[in-house]
Amino acid sequence: MVPVTTLHYLVTAAALFVLGVIGVLTRRNVVIVLMSIELILNAVNLNLVAFSRIWGLHGQVFAIFVITDAAAEAAVGLGILIAFFRNKETINVDEVDLLKW
């Protein structure tokens, strides 16, 4: 069997990234779109940590920053979602087409 190398992790991360992009581009449910964004961020994290295996711990530090960003993004995104849902009674991303209501 081929020994597991950095490239293996990178390929996994790339596949995860593509899955996330597909989710963001095709789903209509805002919650799932937000979760797909989490997938993308996770793919990035996996890349960073995999690289940190070679080039020192800086990648792990950045992974922690990315997790921080993900938390902030989730909080704000879900806040917007709740405000939106309260006004329009839907969580359909196609109907988010007004700049004000």
């Binding site: 709740i82 849902f85 309260r86 009674e89």
Partner: protein, 384 residues
């Protein structure tokens, strides 16, 4: 005092599929099978998150038509039925009914009977308050007081059992006096009980009165003002906790109460904690009354001269007593026959339950439980 119609809660049951975050309400059905509704009360709660926007009580799950039954029974035959209304304070119920019919018949129970009545009624008040304390504390989450109060209530029930053979639905009194003379050692039993119970009451207070969590759970919860109490006809400890010194035992004395020296404990804020304190002090006052009564109990007959077939003259009478839960009134109408034309009961639980809505509006779900507990309702009496 606002327009009384504002107290009629008009709960419009909104669309059920709306969630409660988008400024819409959640309708929750509390009961009729719920551990904290003391029987089969059903409260429809309109909630905004955990905040109560309104309540509506649905009653009648325990309706047995007691008042209607009275119209087909003779005065004597109806006597045991009243025990089934407030089954935790059956002696008080019997006392109210017997005295109402006695008034209608224009007879008076002999002094010894009246003393026995006072002793048993006050013991029953204590038992009722103990049961209230146990269940109320259990509702708020303190499990242990329940067992302590039940242990001590047992002693009272033992005295009842020795006196009349029944523990719960005692049927202790008859129209015109008491059926049974006290048993040998009755006074000794009661005195022993009087000595043993005050430390036990201190024990309950030790567990609860200064307990931080208990105070936080009950202070400023379910507040009701004296004016609102009066407007709704709320009586009993609930009224007294709001600062109104109204006790039928003092205001419209009956039985042998004028002969005893006791105080009416009152509260100031009308919150759940005050009602708790009022009831705790009432327990001690009850003991005081019982002690005086048992020391001064006169000798003599226990039954007035009552005709075998009771045919009260046509007329009507309203007689009320201070039951553990508030004013218990009997309105008896006689058409001169052996059966009452109409008996109407004014149950304190039923009237006090009306206050639930204003007491819990704007408070949290957990407070509904505390307030139902503090109202001390018995569904047998509410539904009759």
């Amino acid at each position: 005092m606002a327009d009384p119609t504002t107290y009629l809660s008009h709960l419009e049951l909104g669309e059920p599929d709306k969630t409660f975050l988008d400024s819409n309400e959640l309708i929750i059905n509390m009961g009729p099978q719920h551990p904290a509704t003391h029987g089969v009360l059903r409260v429809i709660l309109k909630l905004d998150g955990e905040k109560v926007l309104g309540t509506e009580c649905v009653i009648g799950y325990l309706h047995r038509g007691v008042e209607k039954i009275a119209e087909n029974r003779t005065y004597t035959m109806f006597n045991p039925y009243v025990d089934r209304m407030d089954y935790v304070a059956a002696v008080s119920n019997g006392l109210g009914y017997c005295e109402a019919v006695e008034k209608l018949l224009n007879i008076e129970a002999p002094p010894r009977a009246r003393y026995i009545r006072v002793i048993l009624t006050e013991l029953n008040r204590l038992a009722s308050h103990q049961l209230w304390l146990g269940t109320h504390a259990l509702d708020i989450g303190a499990m242990t007081p329940l067992f302590y109060t039940f242990r001590d209530r047992e002693e009272i029930l033992k005295i009842f059992e020795k006196y009349c053979g029944a523990r719960l639905t005692t049927h202790a009194f008859r129209i015109g006096g008491c059926q049974y003379e006290t048993y040998d050692g009755f006074e000794r039993d009661v005195k022993k009980f009087l000595d043993f119970v005050p430390p036990r009451i201190d024990e309950y207070e030790e567990l609860l009165t200064t307990n931080r969590i208990w105070v936080e759970r009950t202070k400023n919860v379910g507040k009701i003002s004296a004016a609102d109490c009066k407007a709704l006809g709320v009586t009993g400890p609930v009224l007294r906790a709001s600062g109104v010194k109204w006790d039928i035992r003092k205001a419209l004395p009956y039985a042998a109460y004028p002969e005893f020296d006791f105080e009416i404990p009152t509260g100031a804020n009308g919150d759940t904690y005050d009602r708790y304190m009022v009831r705790m002090q009432e327990m001690r006052q009850s003991l005081r009354i019982v002690r005086q009564a048992v020391e001064r109990i006169p000798e003599g007959p226990i039954m007035a001269k009552v005709p075998k077939v009771m045919k009260p003259p046509a007329g009507e009478i309203y007689h009320s007593i201070e039951a553990p839960k508030g004013e218990l009134g009997y309105f008896v109408v006689s058409d001169g026959s052996t059966q009452p034309y109409r008996v109407r009961v004014r149950p304190p639980s039923f009237v006090n339950l009306q206050a639930l809505d204003i007491m819990v509006r704007g408070q949290l779900v957990a407070d509904v439980i505390a307030v139902i507990g503090t109202l001390d309702i018995v569904l047998g009496e509410v539904d009759r």
